[in-house]
Assembly symmetry: C2
Homo-oligomer: 406 residues x 2
Amino acid sequence: MNIAVAQSGGPTCAINASLVGVFSQALKTPEIDAVFGSINGIEGIIKDNLINLKTMIRTNEDIELLKQTPSTVLGSCRYKLPDPDEAGEVYEKIMSCLDKHDIKAFFYIGGNDSMDTVDKLSKYAEKNGYDIKIIGIPKTIDNDLCCTDHTPGFGSAAKYTATTVQEIIRDSLVYSIESVTIVEIMGRNAGWLTASTCVLRANGEAAPHLIYLPEAKFNAEKFLADVRREQAKHKAVIIAVSEGMELGDDEFRSGATDNFGHKYLSGVGKRLENLVRDKIGCKVRSIELNVMQRCSSHLGSKTDIDESVSIGAAGVRAALKGESGKMMAFRRISDVPYVVDIVSVPAGDVANKEKMFPAEWINADGTDVNENAYKYFLPLIQGEMNIEKRNGLPAHFKIREEILRG
Amino acid sequence: MNIAVAQSGGPTCAINASLVGVFSQALKTPEIDAVFGSINGIEGIIKDNLINLKTMIRTNEDIELLKQTPSTVLGSCRYKLPDPDEAGEVYEKIMSCLDKHDIKAFFYIGGNDSMDTVDKLSKYAEKNGYDIKIIGIPKTIDNDLCCTDHTPGFGSAAKYTATTVQEIIRDSLVYSIESVTIVEIMGRNAGWLTASTCVLRANGEAAPHLIYLPEAKFNAEKFLADVRREQAKHKAVIIAVSEGMELGDDEFRSGATDNFGHKYLSGVGKRLENLVRDKIGCKVRSIELNVMQRCSSHLGSKTDIDESVSIGAAGVRAALKGESGKMMAFRRISDVPYVVDIVSVPAGDVANKEKMFPAEWINADGTDVNENAYKYFLPLIQGEMNIEKRNGLPAHFKIREEILRG
């Protein structure tokens, strides 16, 4: 039998590590012959655009490079699988491609949209008598997937974000005049990544002095009062704010949406910057950490990357045991020492849902997170990748651009 | 005798390393007793706000932490010293403070504005019979100082920028649709930092496919033609552009200026993004690397940090030999093997001037740089700092906030 693997959704530092996990576990499994990579997510299966991964990943060095290379080496997609009643021909194309290549298990590394695909495909296969196991491997820097303690890719994003905010704190302290620095952090509608900046407390930082999450209601007047209160204590006030904050301004969200109906979010930091400038009048700047949050593998968390490999491998073992329609998930056993195990959960319980940051981890004032959050986040950013460098720059695994054109 | 040191201008990753160089060399010099740090640049001398650095830097670990801590541990200023004819009382305050503390040499770590201060102060001291040596230690991520091969802080900024652009390249390749990614890079009016992204060629990257520098004339029609030409070759076109580009749009520069009359620059990336969206209509995004370019010490270039220590130490030796009104400078002996020595140049030759990127290193088309640039930049980003981590984050040297309030 053969297996196939695909990567979907937005990039992270850990998606290729999960690909390594699937690939390496397959090599150890006598029942598995070829491992196919599907180019550009599920689209590669629909279009029969597969690559034999043994021709792509040839050496141990290739494996190490993949683990330190951000984004998705096989490309990605934002394709939403329609309901089988509406578009049965798409499902038949998929089953036909899998059948043609004797693929008995398909692993989809992605977020809640991809888990929708896993759920739909596995139900279709079962209903129509196809002997194919479909397993989801989670990933997202947003950490907003249900049924798992955290998501692969999140720990590295949190490590990048905290490291960078710490450097921005140093940068903000240079001048003797008062200033406000607003750092806009990703996470779509969930505040996990913004909240994770609380790990800086471990190194004695008082900043970020204010943390605003989408899970707490925002009020402009209160925000200005918060800032003024912190200015009385700190020359340089540092604010961490989620891109997904609702500022109560109708024009906040642009009209553009993606295929899943997600609105593109932007501009919260800039809007708050303008508010501070208009109403307080001090030196103020906003900084978007932008895509660097999701692709800065040079700051990968070893904990995250190692776990991402493990969860990919666990997916292969689950499929071999006959599981299907499941997403692999982390279950935390303890914070200190940090111990997790890997379980499987129904992909349908994860699909199209968002796990929000817990309200009980936010302080009453809505401007900070508490000790529970700190204990949760701190283990996820631990450990350094021993990044291989070439010419003073991280070495990346590269796939030929022509292959990704599909 | 005692000496004093101050830090000025915008942050870099190397200013504290030069402080270490001054401090460590002073410890080795029997003639020197106390080393005073001036809080917030020259303002600390004017206000007699000094700190005895031996009470601040106590251990070898402190020294190592300082070398890996970005920004200016003693604070900074943008104070422009007036002409002595206009404000002799300021000069007298400075001389009085230096005299009071038996300070016979003052080291000013900064850019071309600080070299103006070095030049004026040293001339004033000489003219008025004060026995005080004034030496400038260069720093700027912009690399735009005259009379030196390159500036401390630039190599680390270049290493950060190239590493990050390489990760953005991976990030941009995920989707099967065509896209354009515009990365806006600092450097004020000079294109050095933007041009330095050419080092990615060392690792086989074709990107950035287009590099636009302020030193080459910009034309919107030609820009769009350049982008379309690259789109025929690459699915994801990556463009590096300097913040200081003149786009031929009067509204490009905001009206705000700093004390030196420098205009605040911003928005080139966003403007080009809008241009591509309007005229080409493909997926397009712009990314500002923002202050991370100047404060990402976790990606410091060992070459840069080591050189920054050395040039600080060389400044102390020069003052002891009786030099004054000089800036310490690098002179490159060869590219491969990379060898530089340190010389002194008149600070007046550096003050208020900008060294532009050489026109002969830009290709005829104005969209790329040539082999000379590549050979120049590559040595400057070499070597990794062995960053000490605590709790998964870089450890920083911190000064109490109250001290910096001045």
